[in-house]
Symmetry: C2
């Protein structure tokens, strides 16, 4: 089962009409904007991720980082991407209609992620179209932004997801 | 300190002339191709990452995954990106010249990562140029491929890194 310590909710006024266990391509409407959160990231979280996947000193050595350009420890950009993904899995993607993603584009780390950050994800549905080659599924393009308490964006990216149609033609 | 369980090495015939604690922009030569590895990924590794960051059933429920399109558990694409990053930090990036990365592009998950995979990273230096606005640093573009034992690519991406010059003009 998923890590039960992470409890988040819808933060925006609107959300999908259908829960994630009854959600299909047709439920992704171009122009919709949803926010989910919040996730608090601790120094221990940053150290634990970085020791395994990104052990650069700026991510694992608080003393070194304090003397550096960011004046303190900052999280791995791949850690911030993982936090954004967790919010998407818990609230945005479908448990029944999601197919594999081919990839993501334009991953940007504009703002450092720091210990104590309170993070939410904002996702904007940028495009949604039925596949021409496989008409049982559609392709949804989403603009994903992980936003901190000051409005900074530790990570943003453009995601592509394949989703089954509820009612194929 | 970094997770000491991960022990990897240079796999290609050539590597940088300089170790990572004496490596600067000038050491990144366009056209160079280096390989580092290998990392073995277990079912437990896949479950641990996914429970925290990507708890989709295909990543956390072996029975569900066995009946699905991949006929077995597959790792999160963000987990494969983390494994590639670890190899880059341990062997490719500079401990003294690396500045923050603005982001990555064209992240692609072409092949599932499966329990038991033996993974190596291949990195190709695609471009390297001195910054016009900040002549103490350069911009290195790298094509990164995480490759499994069958030649499949669980993740590939194009990375952009800023690096200090050893000898600024």
């Amino acid at each position: 089962v998923a890590d039960p310590e992470i409890k988040t909710r819808t933060l925006s006024d609107t959300d999908f009409d259908k829960p994630s266990d009854d959600r299909y391509f047709e439920d992704y409407k171009v122009g919709a904007v949803y926010e989910y959160g919040t996730v608090n990231v601790s120094e221990d979280d940053i150290l634990e991720y970085a020791r395994r996947f990104d052990p650069q000193k700026i991510h694992i050595d608080p003393e070194f980082a304090a003397a550096g350009p960011f004046q303190g420890l900052i999280g791995s950009g791949w850690h911030s991407a993982g936090i954004a993904m967790r919010l998407l899995v818990d609230h945005y993607l479908s448990q029944v209609g999601s197919l594999a993603s081919p990839g993501v584009d334009e991953v940007r780390w504009a703002t450092p992620m720091r210990p104590g950050d309170e993070l939410r994800v904002r996702v904007t549905i940028a495009d949604a179209r039925v596949s021409k080659s496989k008409p049982d599924r559609g392709i949804v393009s989403s603009h994903v932004e992980l936003i901190n308490q000051d409005g900074g964006r530790p990570v943003s990216l453009k995601a592509t997801n394949f989703l089954l149609l509820r009612n194929p033609a």
